[in-house]
């Protein structure tokens, strides 16, 4: 061994016969020595500063030692940190078995000097050539390697039969090599693997040629010993630089200022999405200030069981053709129960949905559902996305029911909530029950307007509200009542947004953002090479087939509007200011433009005042509703 180490301390050596017959080269080849023979090219990570995850249970099997005494591997591993190496004694590949033995020898030599490790660490070298490697041969192989007290056993097996199950358990590939006459050459092809096993018999690391080095191996061994000694693992994670975001109930990164070169990320770890269950029923029994009584259908009274079941269904990605889509993938809780990250939705397999996902905050009060108002109860609406080919793509009602029935985690839940199993009716009722609780009011505006608390909103916002009710005419559709306000009229209107999208002729170039603060102008012709044909959208006309309904869409509520960008039924407007500017210009002229939409002649200051007002409409229980959503299990396939 010493000879090998000395000899190979050069960077490489010429191998006398390798590749002699290789048609790919006639040059004699050099062998670069494995890192395990030289100094480590980096500082080994400090003991205890990291974790070694459990890979699997170390396999057991019967082996014999150099005295011919039989042991089970599990006995030899009992209560020891073990390094297990597979070799065969005649292996001549310097970066194969000799490397493993050399590294183990270095480990032993160094650990011998640390008496506290003796009795806690054991090295095992097991031959995978029992035919040749008898106990005597292994004894000979071990000669000169046994100095010092650290235990190093040299093992073999009685037979191939005894060996093969062990090799299989450790996925130790080994192929006999044959010469030109088909005779076993005495050598094996094999992959070099050394295993680190903890005192519970669990594999904690595997090393191969490029990774096997005494420095890292010793620190790994000591890290395991430290773990076993119940000493506190040093926490290396230095989070002093981590920003403290509070609260964490917002989008993963709002991308604020992404248009500017100065943009900085404000990303939140997914593990900071910490859930806390809320009493959702209270938002129905005592609707927040500014909201009226919650309409509840007589045939679907709310119960905690239905709400909880509905919430589970809402977040269950298995309720789609390919197990990738729940309701919440488009109605993302921390993104205003819509999606802030795209204009119009995408469904299963990335299929294009032609409209923006609407928020479901305060959806209990909506008499018209979907942007075109085609549905009239939440219980029925639920089935639209579930069955839409471009959304969740379930092939049938029965498919959804069967899927729920086939998942154990639903056992008994429908029966508890409805006294009957999942059906088209009960599934709709459960999800509708959850959605009906997402009521959010008691905003700064509500406290000012309905509670006469003068301090809750700014003068600017108050002026904005006056414009909203007066000069700007917003409240004609986004209505405000004496005791409550939904900021909608349960009606449909043509603002020209839909008309523009359907009739706009693309020409010239599209501005495309390619990095923070970096934009390029791209020819539409280039974009269209990779663009599917854009789906057309005629709005309410799709439902009524009446020409006057072309491009009419439902008035959305403005509650929580600051949370639900991008805006309009097609997500075509990024900010509230741009929305106000759009209306200030009188929308887009077209034959069916709603007469209420007309130029407003608002000043720049007035536009800002309106925007300030819109920002006062965020409910005070958003954190509770989002935290509750975070607490919901996300259904994924097991």
């Amino acid at each position: 061994m010493t000879q090998i180490i000395l000899f190979f301390s050069l960077v490489f050596l010429i191998s006398a016969n390798c590749f002699a017959d290789n048609s790919a080269t006639s040059t004699r080849q050099a062998v670069i020595l494995a890192p395990g023979y030289g100094p480590l090219g980096f500082t080994a990570p400090e003991v205890g500063s990291y974790q070694l995850p459990v890979l699997s249970q170390a396999g057991d099997g019967q082996v014999i030692d150099t005295n011919g005494d039989e042991h089970s591997l599990s006995q030899l591993m009992h209560n020891q940190v073990v390094v297990l190496s597979f070799i065969y004694s005649t292996c001549s590949d310097v970066n194969g078995c000799p490397l493993a033995t050399s590294v183990l020898h270095q480990v032993k030599t160094r650990m011998n000097k640390e008496p506290q490790l003796v009795g806690r660490v054991r090295l095992l070298t097991l031959s995978f050539n029992p035919e040749f490697d008898t106990p005597d041969v292994m004894k000979h192989y071990a000669k000169g390697l046994q100095e010092g007290k650290l235990d190093w056993r040299f093992l073999t097996t009685r037979s191939e039969q005894q060996l093969l199950p062990i090799l299989k358990k450790y996925q130790q590939s080994r192929q006999k090599e044959y010469d030109e006459e088909g005779q076993f050459s005495g050598t094996y092809s094999h992959i070099l693997r050394v295993f680190l096993i903890d005192r519970k018999g669990l594999i904690r690391n595997i090393y191969s040629v490029s990774f096997l080095h005494p420095d890292t191996l010793i620190n790994d061994i000591k890290t395991l010993l430290l773990e076993h000694s119940n000493q506190r693992i040093t926490k290396v994670s230095n989070d002093t630089e981590s920003q403290n975001f509070k609260p964490l109930y917002r989008a993963g990164d709002p991308k604020t200022g992404y248009e500017q070169l100065e943009y900085k990320t404000q990303s939140i770890a997914l593990s900071d999405r910490i859930g806390k269950t809320a009493d959702l029923l209270q938002y129905v029994k005592q609707p927040p200030l500014g909201l009226g009584q919650v309409p509840i259908p007589l045939d679907n009274p709310l119960t905690p069981e239905k709400i909880q079941l509905g919430r589970k269904l809402f977040f269950d990605r298995r309720l789609s053709l390919n197990n990738t889509f729940s309701c919440a993938m488009c109605h993302v809780p921390e993104q205003g129960f819509t999606s802030n990250e795209m204009a119009t939705s995408v469904g299963v397999e990335g299929r294009t949905v032609k409209r923006n996902a609407p928020t479901i905050y305060n959806i209990a009060y909506a008499k018209l559902l979907f942007h075109d108002g085609r549905e009239n109860t939440l219980e029925q609406q639920v089935w639209g996305p579930l069955l839409a080919h471009k959304e969740m793509a379930n092939p049938s009602v029965g498919y959804v029911i069967d899927k729920i029935n086939s998942n154990d985690d639903y056992t008994g839940l429908f029966e508890k909530a409805f006294k009957r199993g999942p059906s088209m009716e009960t599934i709709g009722m459960a999800i509708a029950s959850y959605e009906r609780t997402l009521n959010s009011g008691n905003s700064a505006f509500d406290r000012w307007f309905y509670d006469q608390d003068d301090q809750t909103i700014s003068t600017e916002a108050k002026k904005g509200f006056n414009l909203f009710q007066g000069k700007a005419g917003c409240a004609n559709c986004h209505q405000v009542g004496k005791d409550s306000a939904l900021f909608m009229d349960n009606q449909l209107h043509n603002t020209g947004v839909g008309y523009q999208q359907a009739m706009f002729k693309e020409s010239g170039k599209q501005q495309v953002q390619i990095a923070p603060g970096v934009f390029v102008e791209v020819d539409f012709a280039v974009i269209n090479e990779v663009a599917e044909q854009k789906p057309n959208d005629l709005g309410r006309y799709d439902v009524t087939q009446a020409p006057e309904d072309r491009w009419s869409y439902k008035t959305p509520s403005l509650r929580n509007i600051a949370l639900t960008a991008p805006y309009m039924h097609n997500g075509s407007i990024s900010s509230l200011k741009q929305v106000v500017e759009f209306y200030n210009l009188g929308g887009v002229a077209n034959k069916n433009l709603d007469p209420l939409i007309k130029p407003l002649n608002l000043t720049t200051v007035e536009i800002e005042e309106l925007v300030a007002f819109l920002h006062t409409l965020t409910g005070d229980n958003i954190d509770q509703l989002v935290a509750d959503a975070f607490a919901a299990p996300v259904g994924d396939t097991n």
Binding site: A30, S185, S210, A515, A531, T637
Partner: protein
């Protein structure tokens, strides 16, 4: 066949023959003079390498609605000119569903090929050793998302000793780009999840610039430097979205990765986050043991970036070249580094070009060769000796070109050092197969110790 050619104990770390030969040349002549490319080296280095004539190319292929059986499949092409079925498809194995088949990688013993589905999050493990001419489906992991704690979009499947490191692209909460690395044993058992650092949890990493987005894409490692690098693309919402729709969606375009993260390979702890704006994708590291650097290219901003260690032992990131005219979004996709570290192949999807960059000065890459491969081109794989390059067409199901421009092919070229010459081509639409994506090589010699074959397996490349 010489025992050294096939002794797997000598080939577990890859890189070798060319690297070894190069070193030898330096020793003898003091010059680097070995013109070898290494797309075998685009894979994990800890496995046997095919350094001679490969027998098979496995093409992980996306099913296409309305074409053939419409589902994803592993297509095996015979690429050995000495074979009677040279240039022909000799096996196809459909796996069910369209999973957004994307990348694949062998385990370190090269017995199994792990192929991920970016949409359904399934990982298909193919047995490629029992009969390398006809892979079979050994196991399907369907619990990737649940086991990993919500990671979605399994992308690169990268071999480490006895285990696979899988990069995620997305998550099951918002289908955005925050994601993690996920480790599995070779047997397909979940080990651990390592989240990419975000501002709220840097986990010890230092932000060298303004960004910590938590996104992921590719992974490469340099064990001799204890370095692991990951790049960043985008979440499910974007990579599954129609490409044209996305380019017109201002919000969607804000959700691309702008970072490369340097990790401590041994401990899996993130150390540094580099600003590399515009979606850095593939990472390829140099082979020379003294070359402590890796390249990546940014898909949107069309740049070559160098991630390198300076003489003070600090790792840095530097933009070193434009790829085509960035204002036209040529969209650099797959890249490949020659094993002599002198040439980087870069494919640009939109114009269908493969571009050779002279990177002998890694700080000043220069484009020296271009060839149009098709209306669109994505992947490139080179044989170890650099004489054969294989190309495929598909980028992502919903990003591929539409109509007549949606050519789907596997093409074999010969490279003589100056020119690429087409040898054969297979039309994947005409053959009713689908969208051809990633390629991996197979050889009979890998799995048989007494078989005469032109394939030669490499020795050890400790350099990596």
């Amino acid at each position: 066949m010489n025992k050294c050619i096939k002794n797997i104990s000598k080939v577990t770390s890859g890189g070798l023959k060319a690297g070894v030969a190069a070193l030898l040349t330096i020793a003898l002549t003091g010059a680097m003079a070995i013109p070898a490319q290494a797309d075998e080296t685009c894979m994990s280095p800890y496995m046997a390498k095919i350094v001679g004539q490969e027998d098979y190319v496995y093409v992980w292929t996306l099913g296409m609605e309305g074409l053939g059986d419409e589902q994803d499949k592993l297509v095996t092409v015979d690429v050995n000119p000495a074979s009677p079925s040279y240039g022909k498809i000799i096996s196809t194995l459909s796996v069910g569903g369209r999973n957004e088949a994307h990348h694949s990688g062998f385990t370190d013993d090269r017995k199994y090929l792990w192929a991920g589905g970016l949409d359904t999050n399934k990982i298909f493990i193919f047995d490629v050793h029992t009969n390398p001419a006809k892979p079979t489906l050994h196991k399907t992991i369907t619990s990737f998302v649940a086991q990993s704690g919500g990671v979605a979009g399994p992308h690169t499947t990268y071999a480490l000793p006895g285990r696979m490191m899988i990069t995620g692209l997305s998550n099951n909460k918002d289908h955005g780009g925050r994601t993690a690395l996920v480790e599995y044993t070779n047997e397909g058992e979940y080990i651990a999840t390592h989240w990419t650092p975000t501002d709220s949890q840097l986990n010890g990493a230092v932000k060298t610039g303004k960004y910590a987005d938590g996104y992921g894409y590719d992974i490469r490692v340099l064990p001799r430097r204890n370095v692991m690098l990951t790049s960043s693309f985008t979440g499910w919402s974007n990579y599954m979205m129609d490409f044209g729709k996305m380019l017109k969606d201002a919000e969607a375009m804000k959700h691309f990765g702008n970072t490369v993260v340097l990790w401590n390979l041994h401990t899996r702890q993130p150390k540094k986050i580099f600003d590399v704006p515009g979606a850095p994708l593939e990472i390829r590291c140099a082979w020379d043991p003294n070359h402590n650097y890796c390249f990546t290219t940014t898909a949107l901003t069309s740049k070559i970036w160098l991630i390198y260690e300076n003489d003070k032992g600090e790792w840095l990131a530097k933009e070193v070249a434009d790829i085509g005219d960035p204002s036209k979004i040529p969209l650099p996709v797959d890249i490949s580094i020659q094993s002599d570290d002198n040439m980087l192949w870069v494919n640009t999807f939109m114009d269908g070009l493969t571009r050779g960059f002279d990177i002998s000065d890694p700080f000043n890459p220069k484009q020296v060769y271009t060839k149009k491969i098709g209306t669109q081109v994505n992947m490139v794989s080179s044989s170890w000796d650099g004489k054969r390059l294989y190309y495929t067409s598909s980028l992502l199901a919903n990003w591929d070109k539409k109509g007549d421009d949606n050519e789907q092919y596997f093409k074999s070229y010969h490279w003589d050092g100056k020119q690429l010459t087409e040898k054969f081509s297979i039309d994947f639409i005409k053959e009713k197969l689908g969208r051809a994506h990633q390629m991996r090589f197979g050889a009979k010699a890998l799995y048989s110790s007494n078989q005469s074959t032109p394939a030669a397996l490499s020795q050890l490349a400790i350099g990596q």
